[in-house]
């Protein structure tokens, strides 16, 4: 698909970079400092690092990674509970690959698997439904971690389990919503932001309209942005234009993928099966209505209602993941980064996940 390949064309990317640097210079002249933007998507964090854009723009635009990595924002007690869940008898735990090496207070899922627990990495939640059907004598539990891009697929798995009348299938819902955490960040005033690079994939489900609150309630701009180098730079450029024109607005710069209204079948499914819930976030305590759980009529598929899990207070470490996902510190400011904490021996989830800020810094920006 030729037009999509153009988005990663090196010559066009270089030209785009120059345009962004010129505009950032204008901003600096007017404001006496460089602009500060936050990306609220872990895939953006990785794309900015991998493409070299973050490094190249270091002196011109400050890009802060926000709470966009699903595993990273999940609080440690929930992580411990999910690992504890694997210890029970006669059960198969299914998960996305990201969770396997996330350190628990005692062990990780990977260690639990090594100890003989039946833990399986699946590509899709629907694969776990199939596993439940093939293993009627066992309880099959899927660890449902994710933002709005993933949540519709969790509900699809529930719908499929319902259709197949499975009694041995459930999901441990630990879902997170983007708008409440963005509001919490802005309300806290902890970090000064000029605007947001908005999550292209979450927007596929929610649509542009779900981010209008930024301009309406906070007079803050955001640009829905794609993931290839030219798209990343175009998103930053348009964001800077909005800032220079002092025009709070939400733009969709990923129109060929994101519709203004989002994905309506996915939104319908969310409404049918799920209800709002107060979720605990790493380093941020509880944010009201910041997640979705199954409605009471689907309680039979709710692993949190089916299995009683109790875990103590999480083990304390010097990991600063909770501050990193709020944009308060960079990975290099954590005493563990690249010392006690590396991808081979991670202490916190930000170093494990393929969308984690520490993993991105370790892989692409170490020593800069």
């Amino acid at each position: 698909m030729e037009s999509m390949e153009t988005f990663s064309d090196p010559a066009l990317a270089r030209q785009s970079l120059e345009a962004v640097i010129e505009l950032a210079g204008q901003f600096k002249k007017e404001h006496g400092r460089i602009p500060v933007l936050m990306e609220v998507c872990g895939s953006h964090t990785m794309a900015f690092a991998r493409s070299g854009i973050k490094t190249r723009l270091k002196e011109h635009v400050r890009l802060i990674a926000g709470p966009g990595c699903p595993v990273c924002v999940t609080d440690q007690k929930s992580i411990d509970a999910m690992i504890q869940l694997a210890q029970g008898p006669n059960r198969i735990l299914c998960t996305f690959g990201d969770m396997m090496r996330v350190p628990g207070s005692r062990v990780s899922l990977m260690q639990a698997k090594t100890d003989g627990k039946d833990i399986r990495v699946v590509y899709s939640p629907l694969d776990s439904v199939k596993i439940a059907e093939e293993n009627p004598e066992k309880e099959v539990i899927f660890l449902g971690i994710g933002f709005e891009t993933t949540i519709p697929i969790l509900t699809l798995a529930i719908r499929e389990a319902e259709r197949r009348e499975l009694k041995n299938y459930s999901i441990w819902m630990t879902t997170k919503l983007v708008e409440p955490v963005m509001r919490a960040l802005l309300d806290s005033g902890e970090v000064t932001l000029d605007g947001f690079i908005l999550p292209g994939h979450v927007s596929v489900v929610l649509g542009k309209k779900s981010f209008e609150f930024l301009a309406e309630d906070y007079r803050t701009s955001g640009v829905i942005t794609g993931f290839e180098p030219v798209q990343l730079l175009s998103g930053i450029y348009k964001m800077l234009r909005l800032l220079l024109e002092n025009k709070p607005e939400v733009l969709n710069d990923y129109k060929y993928v994101v519709k203004d209204e989002g994905n309506l079948p996915a939104q319908e499914l969310l409404k049918q099966y799920l209800q709002l819930h107060d979720e605990d976030w790493r380093g941020m305590s509880t944010i009201p209505h910041s997640g979705l759980v199954l409605k009471d009529e689907y309680a039979q598929f709710d692993a949190k209602k089916k299995f009683k899990i109790s875990v103590g207070e999480p083990r304390k470490t010097k990991c600063r993941c909770g501050e990193i996902i709020r944009g308060l510190v960079t990975p290099e400011e954590c005493v563990l980064f690249n010392k006690g904490c590396t991808p081979a021996h991670p202490i916190g989830p930000c170093m494990v996940s393929t969308e984690g800020t520490c993993a991105a810094h370790y892989q692409y920006m170490r020593g800069e």
């Binding site: 698909m1 993933t150 697929i153 348009k238 079948p265 969308e355």
Partner: protein, 77 residues
């Protein structure tokens, strides 16, 4: 964990479709993209096609961006 490369829809079969992802073929769900047609490109996430890529918009978007760059970063917004 999020969406990846675009996949070309080769064959539609009720609620699934056979797609080609950079030479590999696989079946994916298409419940979220009722408008999908054979020959379309879709973006995948966890085994589901989440959106149909609008090629017209993609071409326009590149064109618009080239114009911005070549027009000495003229008026865009």
């Amino acid at each position: 964990m999020c969406l990846g490369v675009p996949a070309k829809v080769m064959k539609i079969e009720e609620q699934t479709a056979l797609v080609d992802v950079m030479g590999s073929r696989m079946h994916v769900g298409i419940i979220f993209v009722p408008e999908v047609k054979e020959g379309d490109y879709v973006l995948l996430h966890a085994g589901q096609a989440m959106t149909v890529v609008d090629e017209k918009y993609a071409r326009e978007s590149i064109e618009e961006w080239r114009n911005v760059l070549n027009g000495k970063y003229g008026n865009l917004l």
